[in-house]
Amino acid sequence: MKRFLFYLLLLLQIAILFLLGVQYYFIDDYGRTVQLLSKHEEMTDTYGSYNQHMTYIDYEINFIAEDAWEIAEEVDYNTKIYVLLESDSDGVFHIAKANDQKIDAEQDQVVLQGRYQYYNDMQKEYHVTYGIESFHPDFDFNSSVRDQSIITIQLAPWGQKKVTDIEN
């Protein structure tokens, strides 16, 4: 009995580690493609050594203007925020509204789950992060260009997000 359980547990652990890796590649096949803009020029930056370089991007959708913010009360740091994005004629998604309740998305809309960071008094903006701001890119892009770029991300049905391309 315990012999059997040992092998079961061993297989389960290998399976979990395997799944974590495999789901990353499945995002490409099953994910929904969404294009986003980076915030300003000079915001895309790379740091770290050449071997394990990290990329940091400030997206346009990180900053939510007051009129799109539909939460009345003050929210705590790290609160879950649902952000509804809507695509424009070019297929790039912009913020429609943000709420702390679940939002239903229509045809050309998509809902991202983010976490509230802080409120910027000067810009009258709420800062929300989505977990895709810093990542290890597995594609080539020109990191020296400092213009506003179009970033392609894939949204997996199981809630993971992955950056797949950066175009200047």
Binding site: L9, L20, N78, K80, R115, F135, H136, K162
Partner: protein, 323 residues
């Protein structure tokens, strides 16, 4: 790989080397999972990596039944709770239920002082996280620790009773010290709202706890409950919070000398000295020059340690004399 090595060794001879390999394999699994999460930039919105890790830990413990595995698994659960609170600002109820039902099951069936201590420490730490992560009023801690205390009181076996009670008393005493600081602070006091739901639940549990003590004929231990009073609700709460600490320690000293019980005397002495030090910090911090504060504080600490040591020696001598 480490698992397999450990398992082969375990089948040959069930010794510490085999278990060490299993522990290493277990840690490597968790570390591998966290590494994969980092490499593939997986967004973790709740504590699932730690839930998986803790469940695997329970499974591994079930197979080999070694103390070391239990300790590591319960540490993973507790640290996972803390980590989740710091990253996601949320409390994971799953981890708490894993502790209560999963680890609690083994604590109950494999009577062991170490397990009971680890279990109650993890319980205290997790509920502390709950209060902070869910921004509850601090006095809910009184209720949570009272639950642990009553659980210890309900069970007759010393192997559960002693660890549960000692850890809950230690925790509530620290809360009591903390409370003396915040009740003094007007900034926090403004934030403090009194919830009736707390009072009702507390009243029921407190009444039940007293009833248990009286039925069990241990009324002298009723003094423990003075720490579980919701001081924040009554007038002059600041002064009361200090007085409560002193009542607790002095009565234990008194009972200890009366019953000639060295353990009670020790509880009384340590809590008394710590209470003295709390009062000293309270009154001297604002009033005194800082260098003087630390100088006198140092002398006070020296005296306290001297007294504790002297106390310990007399107790040891007395116990030797008894034998």
């Amino acid at each position: 790989m480490l698992y397999v090595l450990g398992d082969i060794r375990y089948r040959k001879s069930a010794d510490l080397i085999a278990i060490s390999f299993i522990v290493l394999g277990y840690i490597a699994f968790g570390a591998g999972m966290l590494l994969a999460i980092d490499i593939y930039n997986i967004q973790v919105t709740f504590a699932w990596p730690f839930i998986i890790w803790a469940v695997v830990g329970l499974g591994v413990y079930f197979i080999y039944e070694h103390k070391l595995l239990f300790s590591v698994a319960i540490a993973v659960t507790t640290i996972g709770q803390l980590y989740n609170a710091s990253i996601n600002s949320a409390f994971s109820w799953v981890l708490l239920f894993l502790l209560l039902l999963g680890f609690g099951h083994f604590v109950y069936h494999h009577r062991n002082y170490l397990f009971s201590y680890l279990f109650s420490i993890s319980f205290v730490v997790q509920l502390l996280t709950l209060v902070f992560a869910a921004s509850q009023q601090y006095y809910w801690l009184i209720l949570y620790f009272l639950i642990l205390y009553v659980a210890g009181d309900l069970i007759r076996e010393q192997v559960y009773r002693k660890p549960f009670k000692i850890i809950s008393l230690l925790a509530i005493f620290i809360v009591g010290m903390y409370q003396t600081f915040i009740l003094q602070d007007e900034f926090y006091m403004d934030d403090l709202t009194l919830q009736w739901s707390f009072i009702i639940v507390w009243f029921v549990l407190f009444g039940a706890a007293i009833a248990i003590k009286i039925i069990d004929n241990r009324s002298y231990q009723l003094i423990d409950f003075v720490l579980f009073l919701p001081i924040a609700f009554i007038p002059f709460s600041y002064g009361m919070s200090l007085i409560v600490l002193f009542i607790f320690s002095l009565v234990w000293l008194f009972i200890g000398y009366k019953q000639d019980n060295s353990e009670y005397i020790l509880i009384g002495t340590i809590s008394f000295l710590v209470s003295v030090f709390t009062v000293y910090i309270q009154f001297a911090w604002d009033a005194m020059n800082k260098s003087l504060f630390f100088l006198i504080g140092g002398i006070l600490l020296f005296l306290i340690s001297f007294l504790i040591e002297k106390q310990r020696r007399t107790i040891v001598d007395k116990q030797k004399g008894d034998e």
